[in-house]
């Protein structure tokens, strides 16, 4: 069942992430779409992503009849401190220009004329928000106002930073994407802010950041009860607590299994138990 953002954009309830796929990116995106994923996440950042190879997959999918309008595309602007020497913009230009250049380059890579979601990969500041953060957010807002992206969001953001952004931005983010640790209550603070403001919370590294909980007898008992895998249990839990999960699995079987997690429903007691399991 898709989610709807506060500005009425529909977004699929599960997303395929393409980080660290390198030259396998194109093939894996094709497999993910074949498995049933309709939302793809990438970034214009060659350190961890290969956006152009996502674009190659989109071209092939279009030839198969799966056209751009049938897919939800999300990519990111990565500030210079998150890039290596392969920058998709002029590092000497203003941040506003860097965003415009990176966005244009993303459109070229992805063979499209607009995005569904454009995300700030992370604030410039470690704590609080500085002038650079406000400039970059204003640049994203301009793209949104111009209709070039249907939503804008922010990733790798702390609760304090998100509170600030929501309070002072012209457009508060429509989505947040964070690494989600069970040890920190599955990023509870940030999720609470998202809930208050009607922001979609996307969780990544749900499995790799939390493999420790797989050994918990309670998790194993729940997996057995619902006759499902531990990964599906985590994904279903995340959806039921209002999160949009990302998976980056490279296994076609796991892609299908992950999407099937919606076939069972955890009780509120079980959700509460998992929510505190890693703490």
């Amino acid at each position: 069942m898709p989610w709807t953002t506060y500005n009425n954009v529909s977004i699929p309830s599960f997303m395929y992430g393409t980080a660290w796929k390198k030259e396998a990116t194109t093939g894996l995106v094709l497999q993910a779409v074949e498995a049933g994923f309709t939302a793809i996440d990438t970034a214009n950042q060659l350190v961890h992503y290969d956006e152009a190879r996502v674009g190659e997959a989109l071209v092939q999918l279009a030839r198969q009849g799966i056209t751009r309008d049938k897919l939800f595309l999300q990519t990111k602007f990565t500030p210079v401190n998150g890039q290596d020497h392969r920058l998709p913009y002029d590092a000497g230009a203003t941040i506003t220009t860097q965003v415009q250049q990176s966005f244009a380059s993303s459109l070229t890579h992805l063979h499209t004329d607009s995005l569904d979601s454009y995300v700030l990969h992370g604030p410039y500041s470690r704590r609080g928000l500085g002038a650079e953060d406000w400039e970059v957010w204003a640049a994203l807002e301009s793209l949104y106002d111009a209709g070039k992206t249907r939503m804008i969001g922010i990733s790798n953001v702390s609760a304090d930073q998100l509170t600030l952004l929501c309070a002072k931005a012209k457009h508060k983010p429509m989505m947040v994407q964070n690494r989600c640790y069970a040890a920190f209550g599955w990023d509870k603070e940030v999720r609470e802010i998202c809930r208050t403001h009607g922001i979609i919370y996307q969780g990544f590294s749900l499995l790799t950041a939390n493999s420790g909980i797989f050994a918990e007898p309670e998790m194993r008992a729940l997996a057995a009860k619902y006759q499902t895998g531990l990964a599906q249990l985590v994904f279903r839990f995340s959806q039921q607590i209002g999160m949009l999960p990302l998976t980056g699995t490279t296994n076609p079987q796991h892609m299908k299994e992950d999407l099937q997690c919606e076939r069972f429903t955890l009780s509120s007691e079980e959700l509460a138990a998992i929510e505190t399991i890693g703490q």
């Binding site: 980080a19 660290w20 350190v47 290596d84 020497h85 640790y181 040890a183 790799t208 493999s211 050994a215």
Partner: protein
Amino acid sequence: MKVMVKRIYAPAARSDGFRVLVDRLWPRGISKSDAKLDLWLPDLGPSTALRQWFNHDPARWEEFQHRYHAELKGKTELVSELKGQVPRGTVTLLYSVKDEQHNQAVALRSFLMIRLAAGRHGTRGKKHAVVVEGPNTTMSGRALKPVVQLERTGCGIAAVAAIAGVSYRQAQRTANQLGIYATDRRLWSETTYVRPLLRNYRLCPASTEQPFLSWSSLPDLALLAIKWHRERGRPCWHWVVFVRDSDGERVLDSKRSLKSHVRRDFGRMMPKWYLAVVTKR
């Protein structure tokens, strides 16, 4: 680029650069904000079974590293995520245990450095080179000088130092930064570990060792394996450098007790095989 290790309970410093916790479990007594982390990669830590087997017993350290490195080879995405940070500045791997010499951060660092030096998953070349101390002189126009090994089993490090034109201590420090230690028994039976060290000095080793046939058929520069024998069923040898230039053919032998470290007693040395080396400079 630099990869450091540090106990998470030590105060964070600006010089730490990108701080990554590599413990599987969140360390006791430290809050999320006090940790001042840029990243926590719990799944990059050793498996629970391996951690429990190791139990920080120094006697199991060597085997622990071997097994942990094998586990890391199956975690390509997490290793890629970490490796992606390294070329952009200092990365500090954080751990919680008291033992500062034998822990997963130290083992992970050596894995990472060998991977980076070997360029197996990244861009080869200058940008990723982990040169700590460069050669004092260039190869061109300079006669190679022997380097005496300062560790009993440091012949491989001494041989590379001789070719690179650096001191034993300089090569030793660079080797240690790459996770290569003369005391590591695996070094005595494998050539894998000397290759990253050579590459680090812009020296290009041949991809495979070649059997020794005759002195005249050797290339102009090679690492040569002499005194080849088996110890507890594992092959061992002594590394020397073979060089052929305007001063003729000779072998540079790092063994400390030798009267002359430049040898021409070719009949007494019985090389088993050689590794050709080409200088890129």
